[in-house]
């Protein structure tokens, strides 16, 4: 990931970047990089996908504010992206089949 018109690199967003290398004003030099920030660490409760109960109705994935319910090319949902799921529980509420459990993080 790098900027086309200059030498901005991914390292300039990393946690160990120095003040001399960091981008001016916090400018992020390219698009679609929220994936770099692992917000899953913020989670206090974890949704657990109960595959046997899931009917693949897909009501859960559009309500996820963090795009953490991946849908594959066959149109089926897969397991949670725990690197980015913040544990808000909206998917748990919306599931009509109680196919998502909601448990405390350890």
């Amino acid at each position: 990931m790098s900027c086309k018109s200059c030498n901005l690199e991914r390292k300039e967003l990393s946690p160990d970047v120095t003040w001399k290398d960091i981008t001016e004003g916090g400018t992020i030099a390219d698009a679609g990089n929220a994936v770099l920030i692992k917000t899953g660490e913020w989670r206090s409760k974890r949704p657990v996908w109960l595959k046997d109960k899931c009917k693949q109705c897909l009501l859960c994935f559009p309500v996820c504010p963090d795009s953490s319910i991946p849908v594959n090319s066959e149109g089926n949902r897969e397991d949670f992206d725990y690197d980015h799921c913040k544990g808000c529980g909206i998917c748990v509420k919306v599931c009509p089949f109680k196919a998502i459990d909601f448990v405390d993080e350890g």
Partner: protein, 394 residues
């Protein structure tokens, strides 16, 4: 040949803005700076500029619009005074930390309350730590010249910080004086085009500006911003040298007036420096060794240069047209004295006068009183009161 004219400070600044021809001017009227957007909107209506003029609903919106325009890749300008500047408060910090080289004319007026439209420096002094470069102007000529230099300083790749150009409300903004203007084509060549490296409307290189920063990165950004302010010192002098080649008018961090053999000096900003020059001339005729130091650049504060210049004198009065309400002196006084202490300049006696608040007239006999007190300090070695008020009814 330069153009001889006569103009008020407001018109001079508006005229500079016309010659600069920025992409966007967003402004809300407030006395005594109202005339600047007023003149400028006339230039817009007459087709004399290509600028998009945004008549916003508040100063908060004015600065927000400037931030948006500058972030998009344009050159944005505005003007304000007093409570208008205060209403821009949070946006000032965002403009500076986002490294957006906006240029703003500040026509100094006292901060309410009590409600008062007249001149002191409490507005811009309140913004002294917002991360903006601050240039002060003694008269219409200096306000005009500072405006022409402002973009060159602000937009320098090693700086990228916003600049406010300050002049005294009414005293400078509304008084018509002679002025020497630079020709349009020369201004255009001097100011140049604004070509930012990163900007939001560059579709070949999409960026995000102003993201959440947190404790993981904010300190690094602040440190980088501080460096930009340090870098600005050299840039300000470089631009001044180039401006001198263009106009013959010389600018530095501060002006020294008849200081060669002076024993006592007054340090003062903006229009009062003109009054002090007159008094210096009068007292020099009586053989009194008095002089003036007039800071032009207050942010960045020229610590080394001020301390070194002041080390030659025996007694110094720093005059503040704003009170810090810290029970220990005004902002210019605390900056000057801390510069001296940091540079081990312990020789001169230094006192502070808070003066002219809310537009209280500052007369030549007020200035004489200050010099006479300084001369007495030199004679007796006794400082007496350090923190003083000048011209208030006791």
């Amino acid at each position: 040949m330069a153009i001889r004219e006569r103009m008020s400070g407001n018109e001079a600044v508006a005229f500079a803005m016309k010659q600069i021809n920025p992409d966007v001017v967003a402004a809300f009227p407030i006395t005594p700076s109202t005339e600047i957007p007023q003149y400028f909107s006339t230039y817009v209506s007459n087709g004399e500029v290509d600028t998009e003029f945004i008549a916003v609903e508040s100063e908060h919106s004015a600065m927000s619009a400037c931030i948006g325009a500058q972030a998009a890749g344009g050159r944005a300008m505005t003007a304000t005074s007093a409570n208008g500047l205060a209403l821009m408060w949070e946006c000032l910090y965002i403009a500076a930390c986002s490294r957006l080289p906006i240029v703003m004319a500040v026509v100094n007026r006292t901060m309410s309350g009590p409600l008062n439209i007249h001149n002191d420096h409490s507005d811009s002094m309140g913004a002294r730590d917002s991360g903006w470069i601050q240039l002060y102007s003694e008269n219409n000529q200096e306000a005009y010249d500072n405006m022409l230099m402002a973009h060159r300083i602000a937009e320098h790749p090693s700086v990228m910080l916003p600049v406010m150009v300050c002049q005294d409300g009414f005293i400078t903004s509304h008084a018509v004086e002679n002025i020497e203007l630079v020709e349009d084509d020369k201004v255009k060549a001097f100011v140049g085009e604004y070509n930012p490296v990163h900007y939001l409307l560059n579709r070949d290189n999409p960026i995000s500006m102003g993201p959440l920063d947190h404790f993981t990165h904010t300190f690094e950004h602040k440190r980088q911003q501080a460096q930009a302010m340090m870098n600005a010192k050299n840039v300000i002098l470089e631009v001044a040298r180039e401006f001198e080649k263009l106009t013959g008018r010389k600018y530095g961090f501060f002006e020294e007036y008849r200081t060669e053999d002076a024993e006592t000096v007054i340090v003062v900003l903006n229009s009062t420096a003109g009054t002090v020059k007159y008094v210096v001339d009068q007292m020099r005729k009586e053989g009194k060794k008095v002089g003036l130091i007039k800071p032009r650049v207050y942010r960045p504060f020229p610590v080394d240069e001020i301390a070194s210049a002041l080390s030659r004198f025996k007694a110094i009065a720093v005059m503040d047209k704003a009170d810090s309400f810290n029970a220990a002196g005004g902002p210019l006084f605390t900056d000057v004295t801390s510069a001296m202490y940091a540079k081990s300049v312990f020789g001169p006696k230094v006192i502070n006068y808070i003066y002219g608040l809310g537009g209280r007239d500052v007369r030549t006999d007020d200035i004489e009183l200050v010099f006479n007190n300084l001369l007495k300090i030199v004679e007796t070695g006794e400082v007496g009161s350090v923190y003083n008020y000048l011209g208030v009814r006791e």
